[in-house]
Symmetry: D3
Subunit: 134 residues, 6 copies
């Protein structure tokens, strides 16, 4: 399925190809996945998204693998099939073990279950969990 | 807001109070938050949920703090205000720094943004991301 | 919270008040809840929504109480706090017992959990579950 | 995928075929898309849905193209792949340019990102944004 | 699509095959659907999920068919294609008629519509719908 | 509710206050709403978010008011109460009439309803709606 075709290197504009080159250099692979090839229809959006994503997902206070797990969790709750596939692959590339994957699934499932129970019961937020407002 | 009131210790059944005692012993605090007090209307559900949750969220291949971050991510995507409040408190209790919290927010926001872009564009899943089916 | 105030009978237009009267007659109560009082800013929308809702939620192949349970389930997954409150009240008025409410919460929680696990794992749909396409 | 097959003209009931004829006349095309062909299993629902949809999406205070953009935005947030495909096609038929499509994607992505950040941070609603309640 | 392949009986561990046997005995069929075959990568999760699911979905205060309708409703709002397919099949196996299916779709659609309208209008919850808090 | 308090001008860092000044200059008002005051705990995130948001929401191929309507639509489907309040206020400030607001609500409700019906029925995407893949 698609509403816009992924662009091959030949069909992409020079500005988009320049971003492809950055992605290739950063990831040390020739492969460019479809997200970037579809975004290439809008080169400034492609460039801005790549720059933010590589900044946000890089090393910081949280480990890059932990960030991938969070990404999978959000993508699951949002039902983004593409994102689940691509970030599960990314997590594996960053060292996610089968046992970690299984625990991730368990935590996501547990959170979804209690989210639904809390929402169906409309549980009031405890005072102690709330920041004091000025 | 609530569709069922949280039950005080005095109003909870002996079976529910026994779970409250387990929670207190496990968490080393007297405080019982409203989720458990509302679930106390259905003591078997209370007991089963506590047992699964403490199992899933305990130590394993993933660090307990990492599990809390994943929980916050799912709860955010599901819009569960109570869950975001309670698990942000839990993450802080397990050592989440302000810088880690800020990165968590950034990753959640980035994931939500690209989830939406991918979905709006209906990007086709790359073959390389898919498990081979039998 | 509100982006438009609920309209009192005095502030509503004659067209909106006529719908209020239909609701009162149908429900055999003088009380008009805020959903209808906010919709009263757009009387044709108020009228159309009331007519469809009372048609869809009335007796048919499914029991009206069962329809309320389905409504609560959808409202929970969509995170609509108002809708959960109002349809839980409606389900109780139609005879939902505490035990049925507890089972409803359990089913909603179980479904949310397996939905999330299935989505995180991207389980392929079995051939036998799919309708044959022409 | 499907849980009910789309009905061909030959398989549809006379009541459903009459709605197909209305759709064809209104859209000035012979083509009937699968949404209507699946709904044809329930002719009264087919008829009611078509009548409401054509009313809501027709000219009014908002331009029909603007309505299509709003439809795509909602369908994206709800993850409805079919709806994104069909309403992107409808928007193009109503004149959506490539540049407008690109801006739509950017706004949807930005909204999803800030929605998630606001929710993760549980930002309190400013008093000035709230309607005064009676 | 898949991020982990479904396991055949030959590839599953003895612990997973034991759960397959329980499913077969309980459902009186040899067929094991993909959800269980993918979960078989994590046998304790497979076992726990099957035990909870068969407990929750079994007879109680709510009819098993009603529970399937609730499951379909939640799965629809969460956009879980696999779950909609499998639980629609389950509901049919438990006696759901075409007329009941059509009413289910109508209630789900109506709930989704009013959920969205209520949310867009931020309708304040009526006092009478709220449980009294201690 | 809040997990982090909004920062007053006095409590914000110089870097954050500089962004507040940009917002004030751009919007020609002294008022800074809570989203920015909470983001001020992470000044680089505050700065980056303001710059992207003001870029995306400014004039382009789509009218700024149309962009606000799209923002409200996404925020509604994501259940972001804060965002609905703030962007409804923004839309009014950019000239949204009561009639346009009423139509927006109607389109959002219609989209949510058909999204749910399509998803519950798992309608297959028509070939004609799909981009040709390379």
């Amino acid at each position: 399925m698609a509403v816009l075709p992924p662009l091959s290197d030949a069909d992409a504009s020079p500005e988009a190809r320049a971003v492809f080159d950055q992605i290739r250099a950063s990831r040390k692979t020739d492969f460019i996945n479809n997200f970037w090839r579809v975004l290439a229809h809008d080169p400034p959006q492609l460039k801005a998204t790549w720059e933010r994503l590589s900044g946000v997902m890089g090393p910081g206070s949280l480990d890059p693998l932990v960030k991938e797990l969070i990404y999978i969790a959000v993508s699951t709750a949002n039902g983004c099939s593409y994102c689940i596939h691509s970030h599960t692959a990314a997590a594996r590339a960053k060292g996610m073990s089968e046992a970690q994957h299984a625990e991730l699934i368990a935590v996501i499932g547990m959170a979804a279950q209690t989210n639904a129970m809390v929402t169906a019961l409309q549980v009031p937020v405890d005072q102690v969990f709330q920041a004091e407002l000025p």
